[in-house]
């Protein structure tokens, strides 16, 4: 087990370094001279600058150094927590991102939890509970799983914030204002997780040990909770690591709809102003979070299925 985890850790570091290489290449791929683009961005002008005028920028950002030196500087910087300097804000990217990380993490973690609750609730209540309930459940899952985040968000906003005025339109980071963004992310994910657990649940309900439990006189709900659930959630746990990617993408959109501070807001602004160090920094932080989350999924798997811990 420890060996497996160690090799996973090594692979994870490799993935982050590779991601860093990709973002480094992206920064090089910007058409035109970087120093000129930067100068125009900072002064709001659009012209050719002389070599003397560009020299301080070139020196500051090291644009004159050989590519290999720049690359090594960039990658080693990452391990010191240095993500480069934002072109537009002229502050370290780590600082720009750092302050916005918490609201985004809160949003995604809450959404993952709510999605699991919704998915398990629907599964427990509707699988093999007669034809109508079953097909209602799976229709609901198929529908919600294919809804784009932005549409769910807009519908929730219009119905609950604009028409019914239950929730604030611009929620900020207050708990009450977090409800709609969380649901925006959780509803499509719950549909997706539900489809997977439903298939498993149906199969497990036909296993001999379920019949055994029933003959012991266990109640239907008891069988579902104690014996079936544990088996049925395994594949969905694996998918939760994958789901995080969808959640992060969704968070960018939800933060934008509900005017919620967070990484998504910073990201969209940075893409609009073509502030590549900031975009790259966010991409890397997210890649790192994603990798760590998948490690945790591996551990969770071992907890739910003790056979894997050996």
């Amino acid at each position: 087990m420890i060996r497996r985890i160690l090799s996973k850790v090594v692979a994870s570091v490799a993935v982050v370094v590779a991601a860093a290489s990709a973002t480094f290449l992206a920064q090089l791929a910007v058409p035109g001279d970087r120093a000129t683009a930067l100068m125009n961005l900072q002064t709001g002008q659009d012209k050719k600058w002389t070599a003397q005028e560009l020299a301080p920028l070139n020196a500051k950002y090291g644009f004159d150094d050989p590519i290999v030196v720049q690359y090594l500087h960039y990658v080693t910087g990452l391990f010191r927590g240095d993500l480069g300097t934002s072109y537009t804000q002229k502050r370290p990217v780590a600082e720009v991102i750092g302050g916005q990380l918490l609201p985004s993490v809160t949003l995604t973690v809450a959404a993952l939890a709510v999605a699991w609750l919704l998915a398990l609730g629907v599964t427990l209540l509707t699988v093999k509970r007669g034809r109508i309930l079953s097909s209602l459940g799976s229709a609901w899952e198929a529908l919600t799983a294919s809804l784009p985040h932005y549409w769910v968000g807009v519908v929730l906003l219009v119905v609950f914030a604009v028409q019914l005025r239950v929730f604030p339109i611009i929620g900020g980071t207050s708990a009450w204002g977090t409800v709609l963004p969380v649901l925006t992310l959780a509803i499509p994910l719950a549909g997706f997780l539900g489809q997977v657990t439903r298939d498993e649940f149906t199969q497990v309900l036909e296993q001999p040990f379920v019949t055994t439990a029933r003959t012991r006189g266990m109640s239907d709900l008891g069988v579902r909770l104690r014996h079936v659930l544990r088996h049925a959630v395994l594949p969905a746990i694996t998918l939760s690591g994958w789901a995080l990617g969808a959640l992060i993408s969704g968070a960018v959109i939800a933060e934008n709809i509900f005017g919620r501070p967070g990484i998504g807001q910073v990201l969209v602004t940075a893409v609009n102003t073509r502030d590549l160090p900031t975009v790259s920094g966010i991409v890397l932080v997210v890649a790192a979070v994603y990798v760590v989350a998948n490690l945790l999924v591996d551990l969770a798997y071992a907890v739910v299925d003790p056979r894997l811990a050996r």
Partner: protein, 280 residues
């Protein structure tokens, strides 16, 4: 597949009536894309300042926008660009996927190991971020949107293509063709390529629907095709300004996107079942 496309385990189980309905929707979208004038005789850019932000009515089934333009007309005329983006992005993604997948599977060894590893990394990226990185480098435009969505969804397809080629290469008829002394390239072209790609036809169909949804998501963030385009995502982006007063500007174009995506997905699933293809 990472976030850019819905996973292929997403199942839309529709009865045949649903399939017919899906077919009708897809045909309507195709007509709208090829000859929008057949469906409606208004102009998508006709401004009527006396009828701005009108809610849906018999005269304007989808309402009007802040310049008094008929929203339904704009949605119909936007079909060409949205469908174009979906087809273009999926096409690009599959070109990349075929190039990488075939190279990896046929050459094998170190090349295969490197490509597989790179694909794994690209896969680990939430694909929206990959797409946003492309937009940050190139600046927003129609071409950028196609490239961004295409690159974002390519890694998943490449893994499927590689798997398919590896599987088909073991088949008896490929060995037989090679044993009969056919040149290697002819075997690849005549036997390997068509048989490896056939099960992926359904995946392509699904990919178009997913690409449309994804591209409209980018446009929704204001990072897609710049105005005055009536591409569906651009309509959503423009409508956000009036969301507190005019819900139809957001909800109705969004509903069209959802319907089209669902229909394309349903048809893709039907195709998949008919062709008996593996998904991944």
């Amino acid at each position: 597949m990472s976030a850019l496309t819905l996973p292929s385990t997403t199942r839309v189980r529709l009865p045949s009536a649903g399939t017919v309905l899906a077919l009708v929707v897809v045909v309507l979208v195709l007509v709208a894309a090829i000859a929008p004038g057949l469906l409606i005789d208004r102009s998508p850019t006709a401004i009527d300042l006396k009828a701005t932000l009108q809610p849906p009515s018999w005269q304007h089934p989808f309402g009007t926008d802040d310049a008094g333009r008929d929203l339904l007309t704009r949605v119909i005329y936007g079909a060409r660009q949205s469908l174009g983006i979906g087809l273009g992005a999926t096409g690009l993604a599959f070109l990349i996927a075929i190039a990488l997948g075939f190279t990896a599977a046929l050459i094998g060894g170190v090349v295969d190991a490197v490509i597989t590893r790179v694909l794994e990394v690209a896969f680990a990226f939430p694909a929206l971020l990959l797409a946003l990185l492309v937009i940050a480098v190139r600046g927003p435009s129609l071409a950028t949107e196609i490239i961004a969505v295409g690159i974002g969804s390519a890694p998943g397809y490449a893994r499927m293509v590689r798997g398919q080629v590896l599987a088909v290469r073991q088949a008896g008829f490929v060995e037989a063709a090679a044993a009969l002394g056919h040149p290697r390239f002819a075997v690849i072209r005549r036997h390997l390529f068509p048989n490896a790609m056939r099960p992926l036809v359904a995946v392509v169909t699904l990919g178009v629907g997913q690409s449309i949804v994804w591209a409209s998501g980018l446009s929704f963030l204001g990072l897609g095709v710049p105005p005055p385009s009536s591409e569906w995502g651009a309509l959503l982006d423009a409508g956000r300004l009036h969301i507190t007063s005019s819900w139809w500007l957001e909800i109705l174009p969004g509903l069209v996107i959802v319907l089209v995506a669902l229909s394309v997905t349903a048809l893709g699933r039907t195709l998949q079942n008919r062709l008996g293809g593996a998904s991944r």
